[in-house]
Every structure is written in C-alpha cells, then in structure tokens.
C-alpha cells in the first residue's frame, strides 16, 4: 500500500466516524496524520507548536497551544494502522496556555487489527482560565483482540476547564484499559470526563477515571455509559475525591448487560474537606422492559428497539 493510499483511507474513516468533513487537509486547520510510526502529513498554524518525532514503535509529541490562542476549528490527531498486527505507542505532552481555548479530536483507527497494541501515554496541563476539550474516537474492525491502553494525567489551574470524551463503539473493543487521572488543583476549575463503550463477543473493558478536586470550588462530573453483550465483560472504577472547600463532584455510571455479559461498577466517592460534596449514581442491568416495549408500540421490532436505545445511550 502506498503512503497516499494509507493517508486517504485514514482520513476517510476519520471523517466518516467523526462527522467532521473537510477539515483534515485544509490550510486553516491544525492536524497531524500518523500511520504506525510515520507522520504522513501535518499542518500547524500560528499559536500552536507541535514537535513530533518518529520512534521505533510510534510517535513522541509535544503540543503547545500558546497563551490566549483560541482555535476556531478542532485540532485533528489521526493515529492509525491499517495492518493486522504490530504496535503503536504514542507518547504526548499537551500544554494549553493561559486563557487559550482548544478542542482536540483524536481519531484512533485500526480497522484491520487482529493482534495489535495501541498504547497512548500522555500528560495534559491546562493553564489558568483555559478551556480544553479532548475527544478520542476509536474505530476497530469486527475481528481481533486489539489491546488499547490510554493513560492520561491531567492537571488544571485556576478557572481552567477540561472535557474528556472517550468513545469506542465501532467494531470490537478487544482488550481496553483506560486510566485517567485528573487533578483539578485550580480554584473554580471544572472537569467532565465521559466514557462510551460497546463491548461484544469476549471483549474486556476496564475504565478507571480518577478526579481529585483539590482546588477551592472545583467541580467534576465523571460519566460512563457501557453496553456489554455476548460474553464480554466490563469493569468501571470512578473515583472523585472532594478535598477542598466548595468542591462538588458527581459520578454517573450506567452499564447495560445483554446475553452472558458481565459488568462491575465501583463508584467511589471520598470527601476530605467538610465543605466538599460528592455524589454518585450507578445502574447495572438489562434494558428496562418499558423502554423496549415503548418503541415496539411504535412499530419497531425488539432488536431494532434495543439498537435504538443503545445508540442513544452511547451517542
């Protein structure tokens, strides 16, 4: 396969699955396209600095969005591999400068992977009054046992906001182990972390979202939506620690189990400051009959009704 074909395929899938068309390849958008350990294309605009180097098994990258810079269009990071085996290790350090505003859309595309390791290890630092949204969408093929290991450490300064969104609903999950650790140390900093996962066959999904609210009046919402079918299994650990005056946190986890699938949820709330408050809700089980029957009464078949409900839950 030629480089241009790899590029074309990755971009096509990225656009189709994100619903954002035309941005990749445009002169007024920041993007990086990586296949395996090769940077196929990149575009960098003033206000953004990207230093990336190819390593034996992937990429090391440092990304800076400079102070006060507001990016109108999302930054696309397209990491993929079109082969059926191998590994890709991405190490990244992201700095969002004071008052900056940026949205990153990471496309992780492995449509043919059967025996594959995709590891991402990164740090994110969000400066004072800056806002950063990081959405990671995975596209896997219908076969295989890809191993996915995203590990992130995020820190927020005063008035900073972080919106993290991990979605893996296309193709097989394989073996997924997400580990997100956020420290909202800035006053009035705000965190939202969402995970949406659809496990099938014998997939295994583990999500570990930890948020420490150490900044005065900081807040966090940790949300997980996991649907497991066949004989897949999943484990969700959400921990929010209210450790400062006025800190507010909430964990909201819903896991739907179908077939022989198994789910486990551990929403952990800890409070170490008398003026902090953290709440949680967790529900594990099958889809409610009244929801399925409600759509059947509109003329949908049972399977169609389940598909509509699951799609909504994971949207």
């Amino acid at each position: 396969m030629q480089v241009s074909e790899e590029y074309k395929t990755l971009v096509e899938i990225a656009e189709k699955t994100s619903g954002v068309f035309g941005t990749l390849g445009e002169a007024d958008a920041v993007y990086v396209v990586v296949h395996a350990n090769r940077i196929l294309d990149k575009n960098i605009l003033p206000g953004v600095d990207i230093q990336a180097e190819e390593t034996e098994s992937g990429i090391n990258a440092t990304i800076n969005v400079l102070e006060g810079v507001v990016l109108e269009k999302p930054v696309h990071l397209c990491f993929g591999h079109l082969g059926d085996s191998g590994s890709q290790v991405i190490n990244s350090n992201i700095f969002i400068g004071k008052g900056a505003r940026a949205e990153f859309l990471a496309h992780c595309i492995f449509p043919n992977a059967v025996e594959f390791l995709h590891a991402m290890e990164g740090t994110i630092h969000i400066g004072e009054n800056a806002s950063f949204s990081y959405k990671e969408v995975h596209v896997h093929g219908p076969e295989g046992k890809i191993e996915v290991r995203p590990v992130s450490k995020v820190t927020l300064e005063d008035g900073a906001s972080y919106f993290g969104d991990f979605t893996l609903v296309e193709g097989r999950v394989g073996n997924l182990d997400i580990d997100i650790d956020v420290e909202a140390r800035g006053e009035s900093s705000r965190v939202e972390v969402t995970s949406k996962i659809y496990g099938k066959y014998d997939d295994f999904c583990q999500v570990r979202d930890v948020v420490r609210l150490t900044g005065k009046n900081s807040s966090a919402l940790v949300k997980a939506r996991v649907v497991l079918k066949d004989s897949s299994s999943g484990r969700f650990l959400g921990l929010v620690d209210g450790a400062a005056s006025g800190a507010r946190g909430h964990i909201d986890c819903t896991e739907i189990v179908q077939g022989r699938a198994k789910a486990e949820a551990s929403p952990v709330v800890t409070v170490s400051h008398p003026e902090a408050e953290v709440t949680h809700e967790a529900a594990i089980g099958r889809l409610a009959d009244d929801k399925i029957e409600g759509l059947m009464a509109k003329g949908l078949g049972e399977d169609e009704a389940v598909d509509v409900i699951v799609s909504g839950l994971l949207s």
Partner: protein
C-alpha cells in the same frame, strides 16, 4: 363484534397471583372515542397493557380481536404494525434520543419536517422541541405532549391513551378534548383510560371498571352519573396488605 374495531371477549389476566382482569368484554367502534373510567387500581392500565400485548399481560382466557383478526398471540410489534398503539401514562425517558428522532421512529421513518411541525403544533409545542433530548430538561407535561404528538405521527387505527390528561399542564379540559377529537376526525379511534369522570364524559361511549371487572357500559353521561353517585375511592391495596401482615404477625 362485526362492527367493532377492537373487541375483547371475556379476557382474564392474572399477574403475580392476583387476577387483574376478570372476564373483561369491551368493544371500540371505528372512529369512536371510547372512555374507560375507574378509580386508581381498578385495572384500567392493565387493560391497556393487555390490549397492547405487553410482557406479563397475556390473557389466560378470552380472546382479543382487532380489525376482525384474533391478535391474542401477536407480539407488540405486530399489533403496532397492524394499526394499534399505546400512549403511555409515564412516557419513558430515552437517553440520547432527540424528539425529532422519536417522531421519525413513530412515523415509521417517513416523517418530514413539515409533518413533525404539525405534530408539535397539535400538542401546542413549537419546533424548537425537535432538537430537545427526551431525557433532558423536559417537564412531565412536555414529555406527555410529545408522547401524544408521536401518536399523531403514527396515524393509527386505534390509539389507547393511558391517563392522557394527567400532567399535561396548561391545557384546559376543552383543549384536551379537542385534541382527542382531532385524532378521531383524522380517521383514528381512541380509547381513553382515565380516572376523571369529566374526561370520560366527553367520549362517545364509556365503560366503568372496578376491581378488574367492567361493571357498567353505556353513554358517557350515564356512566359519569353512576360513577359520581356510586363509586368511592378504593382503599390502598398496599396498605391493606400491610395491615393483613401486621395482623398475622400480631397473632404469632
């Protein structure tokens, strides 16, 4: 039975060891508004669920006929596809589904923007609701109206409306009745499940239910008069059960 759109022939249903419908015989005629009136716990919603074929509400005896066909063993989907639907007393909160999608599903995937606008106009909501999510920032009354607009989208032969007036804020009784009458004028029949005699009185014909039985059938006005003069609130069945348990415990 021949002129009936829906005909229940001595339908009995037992659930959790209790008989919730006892030899219920009713009929709904084409283009008719039929009321089923009764106090809370009379079995009205159970009747609606039985007609729609919900899990746990399969008759142990008796048959259900719709448009002349025996639908007793049909699935909910088969019943819906044949022109029967149910608007729920408490519409489900579907996460991540917009009103637009819900109305599109209700129309069998055929709805265009103009028809959806009509459906929302029908329940006095504007088009800004199309992009609202069913599980977020909608009051109980708004969800109820959207449920009714989904019935409008379906254009069924028979719509069973379970307590359609409860929680529909701001709509006066006259507005609600006009809304049901519009469904009938558009060619559907309506079966209204209600505990309000003034709602049942607006129907063409009514049934009175008590303890899972039909105790009276007649003109809506006659049923209303009987209801007001004879019917008293039932004791809370849960409280009764609790009292019985207490009595047993005390005797031990």
């Amino acid at each position: 039975m021949k002129e009936s759109l829906l005909y229940l022939d001595e339908v009995s249903v037992t659930r959790g060891g209790a008989q919730i419908l006892d030899k219920v015989t009713i009929q709904v005629k084409p283009k008719e508004m039929t009321g089923v009136l009764g106090r809370n716990g009379a079995g009205k919603s159970s009747l609606a669920y039985t007609v729609m074929g919900l899990q746990g509400y399969r008759p142990e005896s008796g048959r259900i006929y719709f448009k002349g066909k025996d639908i007793t063993d049909w699935s909910i989907t088969e019943r819906a596809k044949s022109g029967l639907t149910l608007a729920w007393q408490h519409p489900a909160r579907y996460e991540g589904i917009a009103v637009r999608e819900y109305l599109r599903i209700s129309s069998g995937g055929k709805a265009d923007e103009e028809t959806m606008k009509e459906a929302l106009d029908f329940v006095q909501l504007d088009t800004s609701y199309l992009d609202r999510m069913l599980d977020k920032n909608l009051s109980g009354g708004e969800r109820k109206r959207i449920e009714l607009s989904s019935v409008y989208m379906m254009k069924p032969d028979l719509a069973i409306l379970d307590e359609p007036d409860s929680g529909v804020d701001l709509l006066a009784l006259g507005d609600i009745t006009r809304l049901f009458r519009k469904i009938v004028d558009d060619g559907s029949s309506v079966m209204i499940i209600t505990h309000r005699e003034d709602v049942a009185a607006r129907c063409d014909r009514s049934y009175l239910m008590c303890h899972g039985r039909i105790v009276l059938e007649g003109s809506a006005e006659a049923v209303k008069r009987y209801f007001l003069s004879q019917c008293r609130p039932c004791p809370d069945p849960d409280a009764e059960e609790f009292a019985a348990e207490e009595k047993i415990n005390a005797s031990i």
